[in-house]
Each structure stands twice: as structure tokens, then as C-alpha cells.
Amino acid sequence: MSRPQCSAEEAVVRAICSPTHFDSVENRISPSLFKGPNTSVSRLAVISLAEHWDLFRRHLQKPPRRLEFIGEIMVGRLQEIGKNYAASRTEITVEQAPEDWNPAHAEIPQKLSGGLANEIIRALVKHRAS
């Protein structure tokens, strides 16, 4: 059964943790953050940004993994970047996939190239841990 898709007007977030996805010395985020397939994101329409900090800290931040940022992007912006990426135009979708630990959980099912993932990372609004 196909899962409901998130609308273009929704914002989704992704946890960015060091050391696997963030190099704090060189200040770089790994393109793997969005390569997928089945990249996990979370919906701000279901849980607020402030609540996401608590949720991600409780469930994702386990030594040596440290939550450094939450990256935010509109679903419509993701889709626009995919359509405009000349090297490999990609129809990006975001599917609702709630889980016990996170009812806002969603997934990007597509496998994205490293170059396209870099474009998405550049477009993220990065909220830094306080």
C-alpha cells in the first residue's frame, strides 16, 4: 500500500549529527545525509521544531554521536531542486512514515546522487544546537 505523500507546502527537518554526518573542524556536512534511499526526515506539521530538539536528543544523540544541527527545508523546495538538477533530474517525494518513537517520521524513498544531495544541503536552513 502506498504511503500518503507530504504536500509541497510542508517543512521537514533532518538531524545532523557528528562525527558521521558533520566534520566540526572543517565545518562540512556529509552528502550522505541525503543520498538515501529511504532518507529519514521529520514533519514540522506534526511536531514543532522545539519538540524535535528534545525528540532527537533523546533518541538520536548517543555517544559518540552528537546532535549538532537540525536542517530544515520545504518539501516543495526539495522537489524543485530535484527537478532542476541538470546532471540527473529527479522526482523527489516525501512519504509519511510514522514510527512509535516519532509520529512525524517521513521518508524520501529515492536514491539521490552525491551532487544532488549537496544541492539540498546547501539549501537547508540550519538550526544550531544551543
Binding site: D23, R28, S30, G114, G115
Partner: protein, 159 residues
Amino acid sequence: MPALAAEPSPSFRPPYYLQVICESTSGSNLDARAPSQPTPDVIEQLLIARILGAHGLQRIQTFRQYQPGWDFGEGQPMSESAYRYMSQFLRHVILPPNKRPSVFLGATGNLELAWEDESNKRFQAEFSPTAVEYSREDTGAEGELDASEIIRAAEILSV
């Protein structure tokens, strides 16, 4: 039959990675052509420290300690084959001056390098036990090559 050369010809140049190591250790008694010098493992680590910095080398050592399941039950240990391919890649790629690539570990155990050129255009290469996936933003080149074509990938991503 021509005589075998007893000395390297005037045009002899050590492999790039040995030049790098010798440059980084100038003033020491390390010589690229001398016998009984560092073992291949030590040379490889010196090379990685020279290009990725002590910080990069430290990250790799940290990743090496990750146990199966590190990514919420699904993370794979760092692939030593991927490490060898990354090391081979670093021996051949020409990086922008004053840029140190970052090294990352993926949930599948793959290693990934990411860096930018002087115009802030992004480059990346991901190494698995069988292939290298790459992209460079300045030319729009991206693709995947068999691991046997690591040197070709290094050429594609050289500045």
C-alpha cells in the same frame, strides 16, 4: 642486452604519495628510495595524515572502532576495502591548495570524502568495497566507477 641501470635515471620521480610524504618530513632522514624505511601501512597513514590532517586520521580511527549496529541497529563496520580504495584515490587525486577533504562514514560502512575548490564548488567521492561514486559541481560530472577504476576517478576529480 642493455645493462641494467644501477642508479635511478635523472628523470626518476618517486610516486606522488612518496613525494608528499618526503615533503612533509623534510629535514628528517626519510628518503623515498631508501630501503628499510616505513612499512606500507605506516606510509599509508602518513599519506592520509598529510592530506586529511591529523584530525582526518583521527576520524578514521574513531570510525574503525564502531561496532556492527552503530546506526540504530543497522550501521555496518567501516569497510577496510573502502579504506584501501580511498587511500589509493588520495595517492592520485590533485586537490585544490589549502583544502583538506573531510572524511565521513556511511551506515553501509562506506567511506566518503567531501571538499570544495577555491570557488566553493563541491566535490565528493564515496568508496564502497566494489565501486566509487563521485560528483564535482564545477563541471557537473557525476557517476559511478568500478573499484578497479579508482585512478580514473581520481583523474576526474583532480583540479
